[in-house]
């Protein structure tokens, strides 16, 4: 049994629309960041920097708790 042509066409049409729907929440998120001026990824990077300065082996016991 073969796939009907009308079904095939509907699948292709809907698949293209789906690509747009997949991207939609990501696009809306960045649009919100753009409007509100938020940059949450910078916050994360700053946090990372802080953690790095704490864990570097620059203490008297060379970063070990032993």
């Amino acid at each position: 049994m073969k796939l009907e042509t009308t079904t095939k066409q509907q699948i292709v049409r809907n698949a293209f629309l789906s690509l747009f729907i997949y991207v939609l929440p990501i696009a809306l998120m960045f649009l919100t960041f753009y409007i509100t001026g938020q940059r949450p990824w910078e916050k994360k990077n700053a946090k990372k920097e802080n953690v790095r300065s704490i864990t570097t082996k620059n203490t008297a016991n060379n970063g070990s708790n032993d």
């Binding site: 049994m1 073969k2 796939l3 079904t7 509907q10 699948i11 809907n14 698949a15 629309l17 789906s18 729907i21 997949y22 939609l24 929440p25 990501i26 809306l28 998120m29 919100t32 949450p40 990824w41 916050k43 994360k44």
Partner: protein, 325 residues
């Protein structure tokens, strides 16, 4: 503060691990207590349901564990948690769309592409709705459940907490949509609730819309196995024109020509074939078998599947069953 967040994280993690089986068990007990199966749980079907609920977990869980612990680190390497900065709300929206739209397509293609139908047939062969059949799937269908792998990848990239929240909500909606408890009925009965019903039935899967998808008949104004593919969101069916909303429940469920294939063939086809002659799961069976007439179907339901009507030219062919989910 961090200890409190950790505490709630643990609760969510536990709900994620034990929540679904508990929900299924709890609703299942309610269904049996109220006699909702009406004696329609034959021995063969009982074995299919139990085998499909238990055995795939032994294959699927290790497969997902391997994929998450070995494959994803190999592919994405340093990108672990790279998107952990994404706010919860947006993470939730991204995962909800990615997971559920992918499942919509996976499900829809198994109905619309003939050679895929037999991998999904097991989920539709039950002549009843409820917790007993909610997990009834062919193991290969479950193993390649595409959205599981997509969601696991998004979790690896840092969307773990939103993914768990989506999973809890999704499991609840899909479980209740399969339930034989028509929780949506009051929304159609009382006029004051009609506006809520209008939104609800277009947005998420309800027993009425999902039961229509499991109907033994189609195009009769109630049953519609050619559509209503949505799992958590029904919105996809509305957008893609595959929806039917009738606010009614079908009289008969399942596949019109079903004759009780063995549990192992339903769980592991094509590795094991059915010995029911003419079955879609039999070694020499058709890829897709035509439906029998709905009037004959009523007679079949009355006599049980051991005495199916013989498919003869004078029987009206209603639909090709591969659209039957």
């Amino acid at each position: 503060m961090e200890a409190t967040i950790e505490f709630f994280k643990k609760i969510v993690d536990n709900l994620n691990g034990f929540g679904f089986p508990f929900l299924v068990f709890f609703i299942g007990v309610l269904e049996f207590s109220f006699g909702l199966y009406k004696g329609k749980w034959p021995k063969n079907e009982r074995w299919v349901d139990i085998a499909c609920f238990t055995l795939p977990r032994l294959i699927i869980q290790p497969a997902i564990a391997y994929y998450s612990l070995h494959f994803l680190p190999y592919i994405f390497g340093d990108f672990k948690n790279v998107f952990s900065w994404v706010p919860f709300f947006w993470g939730f929206a991204i995962i909800a769309v990615a997971d559920d739209l992918t499942q919509y397509w996976y499900h829809r293609l198994h109905h619309q592409i003939p050679w895929l139908w037999r991998f999904h047939r097991t989920h539709h062969s039950a002549s009843y709705m409820g917790m007993a059949m909610a997990s009834r799937q062919n193991a290969i269908y479950t193993l390649f459940f595409s959205q599981i792998y997509l969601t696991a990848a998004l979790v690896y990239l840092g969307l773990g907490i939103p993914a768990i929240a989506v999973r809890i909500i999704k499991s609840t909606i899909t479980t209740l949509a399969h339930s034989s408890i028509p929780w949506d009925k009051p929304f159609y009965k009382y006029k004051i609730l009609h506006p809520i019903a209008w939104v609800l039935e277009r947005f998420i899967s309800t027993p009425a819309t999902h039961h229509a998808h499991h109907a033994a008949t189609t195009d009769d104004g109630v049953g519609y196995y050619k559509g209503n593919f949505g799992n958590m969101f029904f919105l996809w069916d509305i957008i893609f024109g595959t929806a039917l909303i009738s606010r009614q429940y079908p009289k008969a469920y399942g596949i019109s020509h079903y004759e009780g294939d063995s549990w192992y063939s339903q769980l592991l086809w094509p590795l094991f074939k059915s010995n029911v002659e003419g079955s879609e799961l039999a070694a020499d069976g058709p890829v897709v078998r035509v439906d029998i007439d709905k009037h004959q179907l009523a007679a079949t339901a009355a006599s049980g599947y051991k005495n199916p009507p013989v498919l003869t030219p004078e029987l009206t062919v209603v639909q090709s069953s591969y659209s039957n989910n």
